[in-house]
């Protein structure tokens, strides 16, 4: 049986996850810098008491986005270094993971663009969809047997 970690598809998925992870980490770190700047320069649109909902969800976007980017990197490395699942299963997990990384922090961010007083905007409804995708991805990862590189099943 072929070592899944060596398969071209597996490698491709790993590379995709690594690339995506680092790029999204960059994006959400920049968001963090922007939020710090808004705080440092006391921008009303961010800091006014009426904008508490925006402040909350944008902080959530930054934190979740950065963290989940690292998760993407970790899973990419996992794929590179261990033989776990069949490619279709790995593909599914990758899609769920990438979808979750886009939708969860993305939903938080969009929800902060236009707020309804104490509620985030409509974009917030993407967040639970992203959360579900992430949950499924991690669940499937948990269910998959992990073997170190080189071992054949």
């Amino acid at each position: 049986m072929t070592d899944q970690s060596d398969s071209p598809k597996s490698t491709e998925l790993a590379d995709r996850l690594l690339r995506f992870g680092w790029r999204s980490l960059l994006v959400f770190l920049v968001l963090g810098i922007v939020l710090e700047a808004l705080l440092g320069f006391k921008v009303d649109w961010y800091l006014d008491v009426a904008n508490e909902a925006r402040r909350t969800v944008w902080r959530l976007a930054h934190a979740h986005g950065a963290l989940l980017s690292i998760v993407s990197i970790l899973y990419g490395l996992t794929l590179r270094t261990s033989a776990s699942l069949t490619v279709p299963r790995t593909e599914l997990i990758s899609k769920l993971l990438l979808g979750g990384i886009i939708l969860l922090p993305g939903g938080f961010f969009l929800g902060g663009l236009f707020i309804y007083d104490g509620d985030p905007g409509l974009g917030i409804f993407l967040a639970p969809i992203g959360a579900l995708a992430l949950f499924l991805a991690v669940y499937l990862i948990c269910r998959s047997p992990v073997q170190p590189c080189g071992k054949r099943r």
Binding site: D48, V49, E52, A53, D117, G118, D119
Partner: protein
């Protein structure tokens, strides 16, 4: 090492868990003052914050919130530095014991000293009054001193209100529990079970959902609203679809009448509609809820609207001065805090309609500062006026024919930009009294010499043109507006109306005249070098409040900024200062014999009937 770490972490965890899960030390419930507690249907303002952060923040910055507070460091205005103060023959000492605030006061003969812990306060914008437990359950007594912010000093509570001179503090035991609570709290319930004191104080079990005027005072009970809006689907349906939320009251979305009544529930002169309702209110608190018609449970006391002359007989039997202490003789309200009465008698309210607009409180006032409002929060909070509502914008939003400077000048007969060009100054002059000052009347009227003659209420013209007579005003009004002239006697043809009020008016009229003499726009147009004499005369007025106002105005006159005077000093001392001021004036001015005679006649005919203005 690993074991040490494990034990350390476990110990920390156990300590944290103990904090959370072990039963906390039993707290003795408060029993010596009114209780702040939830009530069925109410959630209190903390529950509103999560969804309405901006409105919550603006309310927090308003004076409504601090109308009633528990006395605590940070919300006490007065100085409690322990220094003794002697006022009107009594000795007082205000001091702290840790986080507690205490007041000592002696009996009239000094034989007994009472020490009381001050537990609650009323007010914070202009002055603050304090309450203490009298030892009968939740019944409160009023500390005899009040703290006045403007003067930065303690004064006897009696002196903070316009009331007849007298040395004995009025006994206000139970006043907060039965009266103040109705407007100074949210969902206040007096729960005066019996007027017969019980040994354990249970005859008075006063409670309120929230001290101060909070969200639910104007928006109604919020339990249904918070419960319904826990569902994000419902909230977003409302966000996207717009439209009113039927589970809460928004006064701005009510009709002008019902919306104004949300304010009018407190800012009016009202009595329960019948004895049975009065008893229920006495126990359960106000039965009115925002959105209701006030008339369901109350009757507005409005002498001008009385159809039956005997309507107030019962009220007057209990308190013969009830009407006089609140209204001018023509039935217009003369005290502050009763603006709804004034509003409902204004043509802008009574003659308005859907096409032209109907005046309501919210035509000018904004109870939550708008997002785009450039003013500092404290400037908005001062009078809760909307942006631009200190200008003619308040009026031309309906009376748009006065938008142009030309038409405005033609109407006002005053230079554009002058104080005479401001609608307020002619149609809402400072002719109501309260808080040791004059306040704009909320009855929108036009100046009338006849009304001044009939009631003593200053008209807008003479309230600014302090040096002019009623005859002058009558002639101007006749020439400009075709108003029928009023026959006037010698006094009103020769003596400025403000002077006639100072010399011959009742205490309330004297207070208004004294205030006007220190009002910048009036000072600017009425000449200089003459007001000091009459203000000096008022430094010896029998009413504390009149003397206080006269002193404040006198200090605004050139050359008198540093005048030292204590309006509560013994009479001889006050007279000495008053004489000094009068001598200073007389040295450079002289009255003609004729004038002296007129002044003497006015003084001799002064309205000296005891007057209490129930602001």
């Amino acid at each position: 090492m690993g074991w040490v770490l494990l034990i350390g972490v476990s110990a920390l965890f156990a300590a944290a868990a103990a904090q959370v899960w072990l039963p906390s030390v039993a707290m003795h419930p408060v029993s010596n003052r009114p209780l702040e507690e939830a009530a069925p249907g109410y959630v209190s303002s903390g529950a509103c914050r999560a969804c309405h952060p901006r409105n919550y923040a603006t309310w927090r910055a308003s004076w409504h919130r601090t109308m009633t507070q528990r006395v605590a460091p940070g919300n006490v205005l007065g100085s409690f530095d322990g220094i003794e103060q002697r006022l009107l023959g009594r000795t007082y000492r205000l001091h702290r014991r840790g986080r507690q605030f205490w007041g000592d006061f002696s009996s009239g003969d000094g034989s007994r000293v009472k020490q009381v812990q001050l537990v609650m306060s009323t007010g914070s914008h202009h002055m603050q009054v304090y309450w203490y437990p009298v030892g009968q359950g939740r019944l409160l007594g009023q500390f005899p001193l009040a703290y006045v912010k403007e003067a930065q000093r303690w004064i006897p509570r009696n002196a903070a209100f316009l009331m007849p001179p007298g040395d004995d503090p009025v006994d206000e035991t139970g006043r907060w529990n039965s009266t103040c609570i109705k407007c100074h709290t949210t969902n206040g319930r007096p729960r005066v079970v019996s007027l017969v004191p019980s040994a354990d104080g249970s005859h008075v079990d006063t409670r309120a959902t929230e001290f101060g005027i909070a969200c639910e005072a104007c928006h109604g009970p919020g339990a249904e609203h918070t419960s319904a809006n826990r569902s994000p689907l419902r909230r977003y349906r409302l966000h996207v679809g717009g439209g009113p939320d039927s589970t809460i009251v928004n006064p701005q979305q009510l009709t002008q009448e019902l919306g104004s009544q949300v304010c009018g529930q407190c800012h009016s002169v009202m009595v329960a509609k019948d004895q049975r309702t009065a008893l229920r209110i006495h126990h359960e608190g106000a039965l009115y809820r925002p959105g209701d018609a006030l008339s369901a449970t109350r009757v507005m006391v409005s002498p001008r609207a009385v159809a039956e002359p005997t309507q107030w007989d019962e009220l007057l039997a209990r308190n013969p001065d009830y009407l006089r202490s609140r209204f001018w003789s023509d039935g217009r309200v003369r005290v502050s805090g009763r603006e709804y009465n004034g509003l409902t008698e204004s043509p802008c309210y009574t003659h308005g309609d859907e096409s032209r607009g109907i005046l309501s409180c919210m035509s000018c006032h904004r109870l939550h500062q708008d997002t785009g409002d450039p003013r500092l929060r404290k400037d908005w909070a001062d009078d809760l006026l909307d942006v631009g509502m200190r200008t003619n914008r308040a009026c031309v939003q309906c009376h748009d024919r006065f938008l142009s400077e030309e038409s405005l000048a033609l109407h006002t007969r005053h230079e554009p930009g002058s104080s005479g060009s401001l609608c307020y100054n002619c149609h809402m002059p400072h002719t109501t009294y309260g808080l040791l000052k004059a306040i704009r009347s909320h009855t929108i009227t036009s100046p009338s010499v006849a009304e001044t003659l009939d009631t003593g209420r200053p008209n807008a013209c003479n309230h600014c043109h302090l040096d002019k007579t009623l005859a002058w005003t009558s002639a101007q009004l006749e020439r400009w507006y075709g108003t029928q002239g009023t026959p006037l006697g010698e006094v009103h043809r020769s003596v400025p109306a403000s002077v006639a009020a100072v010399l011959g008016g009742d205490a309330g009229e004297r207070a208004l005249a004294a205030w006007a003499m220190g009002w910048e726009p009036a000072m600017a147009v009425s000449g200089a070098g003459w007001r000091e004499r009459f203000l000096g005369l008022l430094l010896n007025d029998p009413y504390d409040a009149v003397r206080y106002i006269a002193y404040q105005s006198l200090r605004r006159q050139p050359g008198y900024e540093d005048l030292v005077y204590d309006f509560l000093a013994p009479a001889e001392e006050r007279e000495h200062t008053a004489n000094k001021v009068l001598q200073g004036w007389t040295a450079s001015n002289e009255d003609s014999l004729e004038q002296q005679e007129i002044y003497a006649r006015l003084l001799a005919r002064r309205d000296n009937r005891p007057l209490t203005l129930a602001e």
